[in-house]
């Protein structure tokens, strides 16, 4: 449900880009999903074709790039990628960390038929 509404947001956004570029439809699109973004990549991949139906994105190939969670520890200063995407320092275990990456939920690029 969540991923479906996000997929609808993606389709609307991508259609606006296609409109601007004068492209009738997209062949593929690349999306980046962070492990700390709250978006489940599998559920999103499942929802996308449904959201794309009847739009300029219908049938487009969805490429998902993952972005691991990376945090900087305020206690020991280490920059680590904690396992299981729980925001704790992988070096010293402290919970007081500042996320540096992993929250992305971006439309990176569209591939369209060349005119």
């Amino acid at each position: 449900m969540h991923e479906l509404s996000l997929a609808v947001a993606l389709v609307e956004q991508a259609e606006a880009v296609l409109e601007r570029e004068g492209a009738p439809r997209a062949l593929a699109l690349t999306v980046r999903i962070g492990d700390w973004s709250g978006v489940d990549p599998d559920a999103f991949a499942f929802a996308f074709p449904v959201a794309a139906e009847g739009s300029r994105l219908a049938g487009a190939r969805l490429e998902i790039e993952r972005e691991p969670l990376r945090v900087r520890c305020r206690a020991c200063g280490a920059v680590t990628e904690p396992p299981d995407a729980i925001p704790c320092c992988a070096a010293c275990g402290a919970a007081d960390v500042e996320p540096q990456a992993g929250q992305a939920f971006d439309l990176r690029a569209l591939e369209v038929a060349a005119c």
Binding site: A14, A60, A95, L107, A109, E111, A113
Partner: protein, 259 residues
């Protein structure tokens, strides 16, 4: 990494810059191809448009407008998020009753269907407006922005936005609120915060409700506070019972200090 030449993924992505080796580089393939109806484009027939936009950019722009609108009028807005049945409406009923005559309040009550919550909250001195989201599982900035001028009066200082009962989706949608409040009932278990870290890490305030049931549930309050702080060390925590009023004064004092 390539065993022959030691080139890493970055090199692979950029191509091999002229050197050759006797093996193909396998293309890493962690993603899924759900929509493969379209024939794969062949080089020369397609072009790439670099976009690099956040997918929720439009919602975020609208949220920024809402935030500016609220700031101009000096209104503090709280986005109240919890699972269904955690006691958001009950807490608001008690809060509005106790703040009546002290702070002019307004409420936007979101639900998938019915205006039952809005009706429960009416008649307590606050402006109340329902938002029926229909199929959607969260409020978005557009829905909230459209109603702000209708629900906020000239005197309004505090706006409560009661989100749709859901611990997942609302966390991703900025509404333009001053901050998020995550509500958790003792019936849900101490470890909810680490199971749903996206919400608890983004909420400035966490409220543990239904403390009147703590005895019957063998509730471990210290463990729950530890789990909340694990995902968000700097969070304010309130433990209260909206039913009995236990712990409510601290919450109300906090709200008064905000405006």
């Amino acid at each position: 990494m390539c065993e022959h030449c030691g080139c890493g993924t970055a090199t692979e992505a950029a191509g091999h810059g002229g050197h050759s080796h006797p093996h193909p580089h396998a293309h890493a393939h962690p993603h899924t191809h759900d929509a493969t109806d379209a024939a794969p484009p062949t080089p020369g027939e397609s072009r790439r448009i670099d976009v690099e936009q956040r997918i929720l950019a439009r919602n975020e722009e609208r949220a920024a407008q809402n935030r500016a609108w609220l700031a101009e009028r000096g209104i503090v807005a709280l986005n109240l998020i919890s699972a269904p049945g955690s006691g958001k409406t009950r807490l608001l009923e008690q809060t509005l009753e106790r703040l009546r005559g002290r702070i002019p309040c307004a409420v936007l009550a979101g639900d998938v269907q019915t205006d039952r919550d809005a009706r429960r909250l009416a008649g307590k001195g606050a402006h109340v407006h329902a938002i029926e989201t229909g199929a959607s599982c969260h409020l978005n900035a557009e829905q909230v922005g459209a109603l702000l001028p209708h629900v906020c009066g000239d005197d309004t200082r505090l706006l409560f936005i009661e989100n749709v009962g859901n611990l997942v989706c609302p966390a991703a949608f900025d509404l333009g609120e001053s901050f998020k409040v995550a509500l958790l009932a003792t019936t849900e278990g101490e470890d909810k915060p680490i199971k749903y870290p996206a919400l608890f890490s983004r909420a400035a305030v966490a409220i543990v409700n239904k403390t009147d049931l703590a005895g019957a549930l063998d509730w471990d309050g210290a463990a729950c506070r530890r789990f909340i702080r694990q995902v968000h060390p700097g969070v304010f925590i309130f433990e209260l019972s909206a039913k009995t009023g236990e712990g409510l004064d601290r919450w109300l004092d906090y709200l008064e200090a905000l405006v």
